[in-house]
Every structure is written in C-alpha cells, then in structure tokens.
Symmetry: C2
C-alpha cells in the first residue's frame, strides 16, 4: 500500500470494508494520521452508520491509538459507538490517563458487560482504575463468578504474579489419557478459555505436576496417559515480583507457566504475551530513571510532565551547587589564570560521560543478572582498568590540545593528570554506585546518575583547580 | 530454599539429583555462585561421573550462565562432557563472544549433530558464528534437508523476519475438517515441530488464509471445517525489520504469525518467545546508545570495552572543546567577575539535564510509535512549554541562591535569564534532534545526546557570559 493509493482512496470516499482497512494503517502498521479527521468528521455529523464502518475496519489496539489522537470531548462521544466486547479490548490497550477519563463516562451496566468478556487479569486492571463508587456499581452488575475472579485478582499486590496471571486455566488429573482429555475439552467447549497453550496436569490436591502442550495432545495417540507426555513445569509463586517472573520466562524460554498459592495449589497461569508488556515496562522504567525522569504516562498533561521532571532538576541543582563551591574556593586562582575556567568544564564533562557509560552498562548488567555477587569483583577491576586507560587517552588528547592553545607544558600536564584522576573517580563511582544501591535494596537505575554526576563534577573541578594551585600558582 | 539449606547441602556433598537441583539455583533463580567451584573441582579431578551429575541438574540456560563464570580453559574442558542435544541448547543461549571461542574447539561432527536438534533459526545463528572453513565442514556433515533450511535462513539479511522465523510450520489445506487435521497430526507425529501453537490454513498456492490455534482444534467437533474456526492472520513479510515485527506482535498481542515470501507463499513462522529476545535487544541498544556506549557484548575483553566507549568520549571532547571556545572568548570578563566561573557550569549542567530528560522521553516515544507525524507538533509545543516553565522555576531558584551568596541582584537576574534561555534551547533541541534524526532515517538514540549536550553547553556558556558582558561589565 503506497501513499498514492491512500490519497486516491481518500478522494473516492471508499465504502468497502477492505478499502477502509487498507486506508486505516500506514505501511508501518501504525494508524494512518489521515484516518483521524475522517472519524472526527463522522462524529461531528453524528453519522453513526459511517462511524460503525470506520471503527469496524480497526483492530481494538488501533482504536486505542485513535483515542490518543482525539480530544477528550471526541473520545467521550466516540465510546457509545463501540460494542461492549470491543470496548473491553480497547480499554485494556489504553494508557491509564485516557482510560480513567473514559471510564468516568461509561455507564456501569455497559462496563460490567465489557469486563465480562475480558480475561480476568485485564478486567482487574480496568476495575483497579475505577473510583470507589463506580467500582462497587460495576462489580454489583457482574455475574457472581466473574466478580469473584476480579476481586481475587485485585487482592494480590500490584506488579506480582497474582496480578499478572489469568485465573482461567485448563487442568486435568494425572491419570487421564489423551483421549479422555480431548473428549473433556470438546464437551466443555465454551466454558474453556478462548485460547490456551497447555493443559496442566494436577494431583488430587490440585497441585500442578506437569504440563501438556496442546500440540503434544494433538499429536499423541488417544490411549497415551497424560503423565507419559507431560513436560516439567516451572511453578511461579503467586506473590513473585513481575520482574522476577519476566526473568524466568526469558531465561527458560517459557510459553506459559502455572501460578501456585503458598500451599502449592494451582490458581492461574501466566503466558508469554503478558511478559512482553512487563519487559517493556521494566526497561522503560530504567531508561527514564537513568535520564532523571519519573514516568508521567503517555497522555500526561503539562503539569504531570513538569511534576515528573522538576524534582530531578532541583536535586541536580543542589549537587551542582555543592560542586560549584569547589570552583568558588579557587576564584583567585581562576582570576590569575583564566585558562582554568575554559578547561575545567571540559574535565568535569568528560568524567561525567565516562561515569555515565560505566553506570549504564552496570545498571543493565544488574537488571539482566549478568553482574552478580560471583563476578562483581572481576567487573569492578575491569571497569577501573578501562577507566584508567580511557582517562590516559583522553588526558593525553586534552593535554595536547591545551599545549597547542596556551604553549604551557605545565598547564598541559595539570590538565592531563586531572582528566586521568577524574576518569578513575568516574569508573570507581560508576561501577560501585549501582552495585551498592542494589545491595541496599534500592533501584540502581534511579539514583546512580545523581551520585556519579555529582562525584565527577566535584572531583573534576577539584582535580584541575587543586593541582593547578599547587603546581602553577 | 534458604541459604542455610544451601550451606548444609554443600557440607554434605549431596549426590541425589533433587538436592543438586536445589543447590544449583539461588532463590532468585540465578545460578548459585557456590555451584561454580564444585564444577571446577570436578573438572580438575577429571571426574566425568560427577560432572554428568552436576550438569544434569542444570537447565541448558544455567549451563550457559555457568560458562560465563568459567575460565576459557575450563570451558574448553567442559564442552566434551555435554550431550550433543544439550550442547545445541547451551550454544543458542550463549553470548556471541563465548560461543565463538567454544565453537573453535567442538569437532565438526559433534556440532553437526547438535545443530540438527535445534530449530532452524537458532541453528542458523550458531552457523553464522563459524569461520568459513569450519562452516563448510559442519554443513557437509549435516543431512540435506537440515543443511538447506540453515542455508536458506542465512540467505536472509540479519535482523529481518527471515532470520527470526523458524521454517518448521504446520499447514493444512482450507477444505480439511478438524478431524482430518487431527488425524494428519497424529500420523505425522515425529515429523512435526516439537511445539506449535497454530495450524496455518493455506490455499492451493500455499498462501496462508487463516490460522487455527491448536486449542480451537482440540475444542471443536471433528466434522467442523477448518475454514469455519480459523482466525484472521497478520502476515509478516520475510524481509521486514525485526523491530517492526516486534511492534506488530506487541500491538496485536500475537502469539505466532506466518511469514510469507514476496509472492505471498508461506515460508515460516515467528512465535512470541522469539520476540521477547528482540524487544530486549532493541531497548538495550537504545539504553546504551543514549549513554554513548556501543554494545561490546557481555564477555568482551578490556580492549573490546575500550573500543565501545572511547569513540564517544573523543566526540564529546571535540564538542566540549567547541563549547569551551565560548568561555575562552570571555576570559577578561571572568577575570573581572570570578563568580561567573562558579555559576557557568551550573547553568550548562542544568540545561544538559533538562535536554537529556526531553530527548530520552522523545526517543522512547518514537521507538514505541507514540510520537509520530500526527502529533509531533503538539508534542513539540508541549515540550517547549514544559521547558519554559521548568526553566523559569530553576532560574528563579538559582537566581535566589546567587543573591544569597553575592548580594548582587543584577548578577541574580543575569543567571536567572541565562537558565531560562538555556532551558528553551534544551527543550527545542531535546525534542527536535530525535525527530529530525528519525526523519533522516538515522537512529535517534545514537546521536541525539551528542547534539543536545553540545547545544546546552554552548548556549549555557554563551547565555550567562554574554548577558553578563552586556549588562554587568
């Protein structure tokens, strides 16, 4: 599909569903911006028929994207045009901010119906966003079993396996045969989850003892006992942190895993598609934390964004002010030799960069468990060796440049030594700050940057100004 | 499992497999460091029996972790103790550096056998790491069909769907019924992939027209035609970039998707577990690029690490040197008013931080397609408003602090205005640099930091020193 056909399609106002689908998505599978005004136009004209067509051509994930492009008023108008089951899927794709806003306007009855069509983990996420009053109304409007599933899920702590799992599982006793199991699945039909990858084999206490991938069931002879074709399982405790769950899924390349209560009873399952979201969430948190930003969410208003950034800037100002006291202590020296004012920001900035390199690699290595108690001493030594080498290289370069400009070999030497010293500080703090923060149970991504930037600024200034005061002046 | 039992187990030299499994992994499912010396000890004593026990208690992913803790010599000694099928799985979990080193020592015949047990995409990755000579030997030692699968996979470009997919798929003609299909699966048995989630429904030209999740097959009545229960598919072109593939999987929450040749013919499938690796790889690249580090790999030597960092430091030195020429131009002013030397690094550093915040959020929003042509103007305006607000807040704070120290309201005003101006530059460059780099087809994560840091240093110095020169001196 090329841009030309898009434009052509726009001019001709296509009415067939296939044309609309082609028009809806750009070549890169993201929502075509040209589609947005078409929807807004239909909304403005109150053309329900046209809206049904336009929305029908979109996947729920694309409708969620579309919501992001609309004004709050347009969003509110659009919602009644969505079928409850589509609404449910759209809600679970939406960012929290837009979702909360939309939820205020959806009648409790409609919402109860939409939630009933969702998996329990997705439904619980939505209910979690509701105000207390509305939550009570919506839950009251749901059938008993669905309500219980959502309430149980919400009883688990946020970001744990219990919140991530779906309660819908397919389980079979270990003495069943393949034929027995397939007959059961056929008979239950609609009662089963829409999609499942494993039949969990359970003992009489409902503890999982193995899993049969459905492809194994299909392939095996009917008389084969499940116990013979089942595979080993990795049980996930219901209170395990989601980051840990993601690590296990990634490490053992799991497709799904049973979730168990403290007693060992099967209570749900987690599938790898849930894990994709967790991995993105966790790495996103790290990236933003390293840059000194709290997560404000996609559709945060100006105030939300300011709130996510200003605290870090204030902390940065405080540490910079302390580092600047070093400069303040050497004002006489700077007045005598203003070249120092030119060179000192370079020394501190180079150190800051080297420190950021080291700490970023360390934070990621900790997150992926490549850096741990067994190899930390080796990594620390390696980082310091790298720091000293890079420091010697950059010190020589800057020393040379200094000589070219000021023809003062003593000044060159001072600058070179200052860079080398600051690279040592950068390597030392860059690797130790995240390791120590991690041992203290803090998130190394959040505070390492502040520590390392402060140290390289402070010592950078101190190194060049202090050595200069001793040797040159 | 607690630390106490670990220590106990160590003292008692447990021989049962279950005890060893408990001992092998820490509570956080990472390899227990205490396990490493036990393996080394068995290696030193040449105790093959003990090694078999120790390795038998480990998942291939844990054996790969173990390799990371061993010296190159120990690794080389360990490899012959692994069964070919375990070796294959370990190889596909290993980092490239260690893998290349190990591959040199594995006999071609053993390797050919190990590769035969792997999925074609994993096997191709390993073959890709072999030296030309060895590659020819290994391929020659493999059966014709397996060799062809690997060679075809390697013919696709790196980081495309073709390299990511496995060629093993299960396909059925659209006129088949559920019963027909299940009988076929039972009959084929061992010829089918070890694990599959969908049976692709194909037309006579082998073009996929739909997919039947295996759970639907199990649940449906035998006489149901496949065409009736199949679901819509999202086809992945074989030359699509892996980042794009990951986006589509995440957006539509796909479990698996058929990969098609330009003509539309089914050539393979990608499953969501392959995507987890891609997402981690791509965000990892972004994180490191933002910190000015090229990826050196987990087990890179000192030289590899230096090579991954030094170029960025040299670029940083060059841009810093240019920014420092601004300071150089105002040396007389600094000599007259040394407070400027104290304040100017604070102004540039605050701007740098604000710029990093903006660009990091922008780079991530571009990567997740939340920032695109349709909303970029709104985001640019939003960032500039946030920048001006934060600049005003931080400028007031620093202005106040300046007054407290120097009791000079003019100097305070100069500092405050300089901060505000630099925050404008930070917001403007922080949001525009990644957007423009993206439009130019460059990776915004790689070069945005350099641009933004340079601009905020340059303009930070220029703002405070220039305004001071105009007003104060």
């Amino acid at each position: 599909m090329s841009r030309e056909t898009d434009d052509l399609a726009l001019r001709e106002r296509p009415e067939s569903e296939e044309d609309l689908e082609d028009l809806a998505l750009g070549e890169d599978y993201s929502l075509n911006p040209a589609y947005v005004p078409m929807v807004v136009d239909a909304l403005d004209r109150g053309d329900a028929e046209r809206l049904r067509e336009l929305l029908g051509a979109l996947h729920p994930a694309d409708i969620a994207d579309l919501m992001g492009f609309l004004s709050a008023d347009d969003r509110e108008e659009l919602v009644p045009h969505l079928d409850p089951e589509i609404l449910g899927e759209v809600l679970s794709e939406l960012d929290t901010e837009i979702r909360e806003e939309i939820l205020e306007h959806v009648p409790s009855q409609v919402l109860a119906k939409a939630l009933g069509d969702m998996e329990s983990d997705d439904a619980a996420d939505v209910v979690d966003d509701l105000e207390a009053d509305k939550r009570a109304q919506v839950l009251a409007a749901m059938p008993e079993t669905e309500r219980a599933a959502i309430e149980t899920t919400l009883a688990y702590e946020d970001e744990t396996a219990g919140r991530l799992m779906q309660r819908e599982v397919v389980a079979a006793p270990q003495f069943w045969t393949v034929g027995h199991t397939i007959d059961y699945l056929r008979r239950e039909g609609d009662e089963l989850p829409e999609l499942f990858f494993d039949v969990y084999v359970v003992d009489p206490a409902y503890k999982p003892v193995g899993a049969c991938p459905v492809s194994h069931l299909l392939r095996a002879q009917r008389e084969t006992p499940l116990a013979q074709i089942m595979e080993q399982i990795t049980e996930i405790p219901v209170d395990m942190d989601q980051e840990e769950v993601a690590y296990i899924f990634d490490k053992y390349r799991l497709i799904s895993a049973p979730v168990v209560e403290p007693g060992g009873r099967l209570v749900g399952q987690i599938t790898v598609d849930d894990i994709v979201g967790v991995i993105q969430e966790e790495t996103e948190e790290d990236i933003l934390a390293l840059a000194g930003v709290s997560d404000a969410g996609r559709d945060a208003g100006i105030l939300g964004i300011i709130r996510s950034r200003l605290p870090w800037l204030v902390i940065n100002l405080a540490t910079e002010a302390i580092a600047a006291t070093v400069v303040g202590a050497f004002q006489d020296e700077i007045a005598k030799l203003t070249a120092l004012a030119v060179l000192m920001p370079i020394v501190s900035s180079l150190g800051g960069n080297a420190g950021t390199q080291t700490l970023t690699v360390a934070v990621r290595a900790i997150a992926s468990r490549e850096l741990n108690a067994a190899n930390s001493m080796r990594v620390i030594i390696r980082e310091i060796v790298v720091g000293l080498f890079n420091g010697a290289a950059m010190g020589s370069l800057l020393g040379l440049a200094t000589y070219v400009f000021w023809h003062d070999w003593k000044l060159s030497a001072v600058v070179g030594v200052a860079v080398l010293a600051n690279f040592f500080v950068a390597a030392f703090c860059g690797i130790l700050a995240p390791i120590v923060l991690e041992r203290l149970g803090r998130d190394p991504a959040v505070s390492s940057s502040v520590v390392v930037t402060f140290m390289t600024d402070f010592f950078g200034f101190l190194a060049i100004l202090g050595i200069a005061a001793l040797i040159l002046l």
